[in-house]
């Protein structure tokens, strides 16, 4: 290796740029988190200092837990996200298998049809989606959200998974066929376990937008008992704008679950993006 690439001045400059940008990226999150543990006075007097013995307070969290049904919201978000991911992965993998494995009339056309939704956002059809949900009585149910997110996630899932399934060896599947396994058994027992890494990538890609979506919960399921965490914190914060302790605590409570999930899944997510799954 030539020494030009290891010039210490360059290395220092690179670290400086990255450190500055990391600070910019983390600063707002940090400020919100530390101030959520402070008294109202301390929030305004010294917004940038860590909570100390005399400025520590949990009053904001107490208000939030008393006034808002955050556990209910959290549960709704959890149900919607997990169920949507389950259907995206199951239906997506099945369709991807059909497209990757069998030759039939209209295969390419079907692939193109399913790929349309990658570029066209589902939000464009919101007016008719709302009408559909009203006429089927699904408004203000979690089912409405699960259906919408499943439809939204399927195109990219089919696209990514069918690319991976083309790479599964034919010998394995044919060996299964000779042993008399049905196509369903071949799919569920032989192929699915082999594409698990791709399924994880699809899951992680879909998880964040579903969890964070505000548009569809606002339009399709704004009732108190079906509010997701994102919508719930939006409404709560809107009502408590002047109660800074409560607002900061509500924000922190919305940040924490995502942050924990991110710490768990960040390697998977980054590997998924950098493996070129979305080229």
């Amino acid at each position: 290796m030539l020494k030009a690439r290891r010039n210490p001045v360059n290395v220092a400059a690179m670290h400086a740029v990255l450190i500055v940008y990391t600070l910019i990226a983390l600063f707002p999150v940090f400020v919100i988190l530390i101030n959520s543990f402070k008294t109202r006075k301390a929030i305004f007097r010294e917004p940038l200092s860590l909570p100390g013995a005399d400025s520590f307070s949990l009053i904001g969290y107490e208000t939030v837990l008393r006034q808002g049904d955050f556990f209910g919201y959290f549960q709704n978000s959890m149900i919607v996200t997990v169920a949507s991911l389950f259907f995206i992965l199951l239906f997506g993998a099945m369709a991807a298998f059909a497209l990757a494995e069998y030759r039939f009339k209209g295969n390419t056309l079907m692939g193109l049809y399913l790929a349309l939704g990658i570029m066209i956002p589902i939000r464009i059809g919101t007016v008719a989606i709302l009408e559909l949900m009203v006429s089927t009585g699904l408004v203000n149910t979690l089912m409405a959200l699960i259906l919408v997110y499943t439809a939204q996630g399927l195109p990219l899932a089919v696209f990514i998974l069918s690319e991976f399934m083309r790479g599964v060896s034919d010998d394995l599947k044919n060996a299964g066929r000779i042993d008399g396994l049905s196509e369903y058994v071949i799919f569920f027992r032989l192929v699915l376990p082999l594409v698990r890494p791709a399924m994880a990538t699809v899951a992680v890609f879909n998880m964040i937008p579903i969890w964070n979506d505000l548009w569809f919960p606002l339009i399709l399921a704004p009732a108190e008992e079906t509010k997701t965490l994102t919508l719930g914190s939006q409404v709560f914060i809107g009502q408590f704008v002047t109660d800074w302790n409560a607002v900061l605590s509500a924000l922190s409570m919305a940040i924490l679950p995502v942050l924990i999930l991110y710490v768990i899944f960040s390697r998977q997510l980054i590997r998924g993006i950098t493996s070129g799954a979305v080229k």
């Binding site: 030539l2 030009a4 690439r5 290395v11 670290h15 740029v17 990255l18 940008y21 990391t22 990226a25 707002p28 999150v29 919100i32 929030i43 917004p47 199951l90 099945m94 369709a95 298998f97 059909a98 497209l99 069998y102 039939f104 079907m110 349309l116 939704g117 066209i120 956002p121 464009i124 059809g125 919101t126 007016v127 008719a128 989606i129 709302l130 009408e131 919408v148 499943t150 439809a151 939204q152 399927l154 369903y184 969890w211 964070n212 979506d213 505000l214 548009w215 339009i219 994102t230 800074w244 607002v247 924000l251 919305a254 942050l259 991110y262 980054i270 993006i273 950098t274 070129g276 979305v278």
Partner: protein, 305 residues
């Protein structure tokens, strides 16, 4: 094929659930929305009016003013993303892709954190930080002697949209960074070493060798940014509400669509005018995607290693 094969039912079973859900919840409503744009409702009865809604949207000054305002704002929103988000993303990716850079994984994960936060968190967090009441932003500017630069950015008509665009840039810079980073990793080491032997290193290696090789990825990022920006809604709604204040200066197509079809405060919802706006958004996105697919992507040279 001469002999007719029996229908292979398992193919139908494998395809059916995905095709049904996708068709019923995505494709059918999409076309139904385009169709609804041609109707209007009088006394709870739906009438076909042809292109009347579009004539109202573009011709009636009350509507057209809001529409052009939202569209113009949306283009500015997109412009800031292209001008700030993507260059910063490329710069960060170029630094991160340096071989043997220490703590690269740590930086990468930290810089990606804003991208995973919801718009509600991002919108409110920045609202609080920029707020003149709390005083974090003026206080910090004061510390470096630039307090005169401070203004309540989100409250001023002339700054609010740019400020929100920059907040959105802050949130999403991780995506171009990751995609460009992935593209840079695929450039073979031999090419870079060959260039080094020729004396091309550092900045000139980036401009002359790496940048041309990652142009396809920059194209993908641009179209993703375009589609994302033209159906954006959440951040503006979380930070400024459905009225996209002050005085509609941050109104974009997403918030305009929401107010129109869902109704807000005293304004009643009008699904048919809403469909007309959605149709316009659909057309804009379609034009953008077509320009990308047929104008940019096919002309771009791809290199195989």
């Amino acid at each position: 094929m001469a002999s007719r094969r029996p229908i292979r039912w398992h193919i139908v079973v494998f395809l059916a659930p995905a095709v049904l859900v996708y068709t019923a919840i995505m494709i059918f409503p999409l076309f139904n929305t385009l169709r609804l744009a041609l109707f209007t409702e009088v006394d709870n009865v739906r009438h076909f009016v042809g292109l009347e809604n579009f004539r109202t949207l573009f011709g009636d000054p009350r509507w057209s003013e809001s529409f052009w305002n939202a569209l113009g704002n949306n283009f500015w929103f997109f412009f800031i993303h292209m001008l700030v988000q993507n260059p910063i993303g490329i710069l960060l990716a170029a630094i991160l892709s340096h071989p043997r850079l220490r703590f690269a994984a740590l930086y990468r994960s930290a810089i990606f954190i804003p991208t995973i936060l919801s718009f509600v968190i991002v919108g409110f967090a920045w609202k609080l930080i920029l707020s003149p009441i709390w005083g974090i932003a003026p206080g910090m500017l004061d510390a470096v002697g630039l307090k005169f630069l401070y203004a309540p950015w989100l409250g001023k008509e002339e700054y609010a949209l740019t400020t929100l665009s920059l907040v959105s840039v802050w949130q999403f810079v991780g995506i171009p960074m990751m995609l460009i980073y992935a593209a840079l990793l695929t450039i073979p080491e031999e090419i870079l070493e060959a260039a080094e032997v020729e004396g091309i290193t550092g900045m000139s290696a980036f401009w002359k060798i790496k940048l041309p090789l990652i142009l396809p990825s920059i194209g993908i990022i641009s179209i993703l940014t375009f589609v994302g920006n033209f159906n954006a809604f959440d951040l503006i709604y979380a930070a400024q509400g459905a009225l996209a204040g002050p005085d509609f200066s941050t109104d974009i197509l997403g918030t305009f669509l929401y107010r129109t079809f869902f109704g807000f405060q005293l304004q009643l919802g009008d699904p048919h005018m809403g469909s007309a706006i959605a149709t316009a958004m659909f057309a804009i996105i379609l034009v953008g995607v077509c320009i990308y697919l047929f104008g940019i992507q096919t002309r771009m040279r791809r290199y195989q290693f």
